[in-house]
């Protein structure tokens, strides 16, 4: 299991390599990148802040929950970036390997969905005329 929170650019191919296994025919991966628009506003860049030790702990818990729920999961990798990111930069990569493909999609989607709910990472979007902490207010 590869769990990482990093302030360096994420090397996607290395994350995919980390879940390769001879018994795993299926690898599903999700890559989250920085979009140039959010709720109609033009995004200039993004700032990610994390509660590092809790974020890594919670990322690991999410991955472990996925492995309990889909015991056929072979390997899981989750790498999340923090710091300042530009448009097109990779913010997160989730990759899982399984013997059969349906479970690879379900497990990968579970991990990214749950990550977005529980892992203490926050992003502040920077526009040309200001900044907003995403999802902070109703």
């Amino acid at each position: 299991m590869l769990i990482e929170l990093t302030d360096q650019p994420i090397h996607v191919a290395a994350v995919l390599d980390a879940v390769q296994a001879d018994g795993a025919g299926a690898v599903n991966s999700f890559i989250g990148t920085i979009r140039n628009r959010s709720t109609g506003r033009r995004v200039v860049r993004l700032h990610y802040e994390a509660y590092d030790q809790m974020a890594v702990h919670q990322l690991r818990k999410v991955a472990e929950q996925a492995m309990e729920r889909w015991p056929m999961l072979q390997k899981v990798a989750v790498v999340h970036r923090k710091g300042t990111l530009e448009i097109g930069d990779v913010a997160v990569v989730v990759a899982v390997s399984t013997p059969h493909r349906a479970e690879s999609f379900a497990a990968c989607q579970y991990i990214i969905d749950t990550l977005k709910e529980v892992v203490p990472i926050w992003k502040k979007e920077e526009y040309e005329d200001g900044t907003v902490w995403v999802a902070a207010h109703p």
Partner: protein, 80 residues
């Protein structure tokens, strides 16, 4: 007892510092801590949600706090 509370994201900006040192009655609960903070910093009450993490886990409202706990405020997360 003395509590040290780590602040991130919008809570850090609301409070104006990355860490809060508080003295509270022994056995104070998560809920009581939040109520006190929201009184001092009303903007915390305007967030979509505000959780408390104790030792890297989300804490229940009635959980008692201890002096050695690693405590943090967790505003709505937005990773990914």
């Amino acid at each position: 007892m003395k509590l040290s509370i780590a602040l991130f994201g919008i809570t850090r900006e609301i409070v104006g510092q990355p860490q809060l040192e508080l003295t509270v009655p022994e056995g104070q609960s998560v809920q009581q801590l939040l109520a006190g903070l929201q009184q001092t910093y009303p903007a915390l009450g305007e967030l979509r949600s505000l959780a408390v993490a104790v030792n890297n886990e989300y804490a229940q409202p009635d959980a008692p706090l201890h002096e050695r706990d690693e405590i943090a405020l967790i505003p709505p997360v937005s990773g990914g």
